[in-house]
Symmetry: C2
Subunit: 251 residues, 2 copies
DNA sequence: AAAAAGCAAAATCTCGAGAAAAAACAGGCA
DNA sequence: TGCCTGTTTTTTCTCGAGATTTTGCTTTTT
């Protein structure tokens, strides 16, 4: 997320207004990585990219440094930048920790949430419901759904007073978002809305245990679905090995 | 931590060998921030700092961007960089989440740790014990203790197979390290070694509940001690307000 | 007085070119 | 063929100077 919003916006959902070319390049690059325009494991050569994104080399380097903090880009001194690799193990790891952190945040939210929190959650759920009712498979629709889904999950934990917890959750959420894009459309048979409904109902009735269980199931199911996804690319190993042509790491 | 070591070294304790000027400046800056040479809330002016650290402006900017990911530096487009503020609330927040994450990691370690893990823990505890026995108040001693303490906490969770969990713990640990430096020497009356001993014993005897309880108490006590510390600086607010002289944010 | 507007100084942001390092390639040797 | 070695090419890393924005101070207005 934008450095200035690290602790304000949980999932950095809303208005990220770039004020400099660095931030501009950062947002564009992040979008392209999450959407898969730059495949996991591929090199990000500054010389080429600076033309694509219309900025100087130094500027692009700085944008890449920012992406390192989101763990979307990996770098090694004197050897350049890569798009972070993905793997089933990594996704499982992310999922496990998302459950740990998000259920904790939800627990706090339910315990301390005010009327404002309920109102926000209600609004976010409504927005999500509307787009889930008329869900076709267009890319535009998916992007809209992605945005509202993020809004719903953010609203769930909005009353959590721990800035750090929200910040850490944000990091993990964006990671899982990238995985989800790679399995686009493969979870058609799954009834996501029912899961959301259950979480929503439990949260609104302030039932901690039931809400957390529903949320855990929800996140776990995502892992299960993605694991079965046929479009999931072969897993390159994390640290780029020295090889002749390492546009794509070996294995 | 160094971008290339984000997921390898948990607390980035060991060999962080800078390969470029950027990494060099990053490590030097981080050291100076943690040790309090740059006070929380103060501006980090690129123009001045580039001379102090002997690098170009662009290089220093990149190093600062790296520090943003450690949440040690805050930045806002077109307005520059600041040392992240500290506050009692922030410390409490960090502590709460350290407990959540580190006890989880310890639980996993105890459950899955091999003989190798026990051996590593034993060695780390021995190193720590030796320095705690002859503890005077010299800065050199304290630095040595800090390093070995980090090693002990790292060894505790070394058998945790979740890279992400270790990574997140590392972020929080460095934050609390900064707070600890600000309260140097104020925990003289506390018997830290006894706490470490209890954690160690419980972990070695594979008693999950007892070990986690001891670790939680240990981390909590740190919060309590630091909260009482007289040398703790006044808490500046996180986002730098627009003020005439904001070398030190208001309040 | 307090607030708004205007001006000067400082700092940030940005780019392109040169130095240094790594990767790719080719040739020689067992 | 397989492996080491030296050369060429590509890429990263670094710096300094110029454009833009912000900031601080002074003056003017209500």
């Amino acid at each position: 997320m934008l450095p200035s919003q690290k602790f304000t916006a949980a999932f950095s959902a809303a208005e990220e207004t770039p004020r400099t070319l660095v931030e501009n390049a950062y947002l564009a690059l992040r979008q392209d990585i999450i959407e898969g325009k730059h495949l996991p494991g591929t090199r990000l050569r500054v010389e080429h990219l600076k033309d694509d994104y219309g900025v100087g080399a130094g500027t692009l380097r700085e944008a890449l440094s920012l992406l390192v903090s989101d763990a979307l880009v990996y770098s090694e001194g004197q050897r350049g930048f890569w798009v972070s690799s993905i793997s089933p193990e990594d996704l499982e790891d992310i999922t496990r920790n998302r459950i740990l952190l998000e259920t904790e945040a939800l627990r706090i939210s339910i315990r301390t949430g005010t009327d404002e929190w309920e109102a926000g959650l209600m609004a976010a759920f409504h927005r999500l419901t509307k787009v889930e009712e008329k869900l076709n498979n267009s890319a535009q629709q998916f992007r809209e759904w992605e945005e509202r889904n993020r809004g719903f999950h953010e609203a769930l934990i909005a009353a959590c007073d721990s800035r750090w917890l929200r910040y850490l959750i944000g990091i993990l959420y964006r990671q899982s978002e990238r995985y989800r894009r790679f399995a686009l459309g493969s979870d058609s048979k799954r009834n996501v809305h029912a899961e959301h409904q259950e979480i929503y109902d439990a949260a609104m009735s302030r039932d901690e245990k039931r809400a957390c269980a529903a949320l855990e199931l929800h996140i776990s199911t995502t892992l299960f679905v993605l694991r079965e996804a046929p479009s999931s690319p072969s897993p390159p190993t994390q640290p780029p090995r020295r090889s002749k042509r390492d546009d794509l790491p070996p294995k």
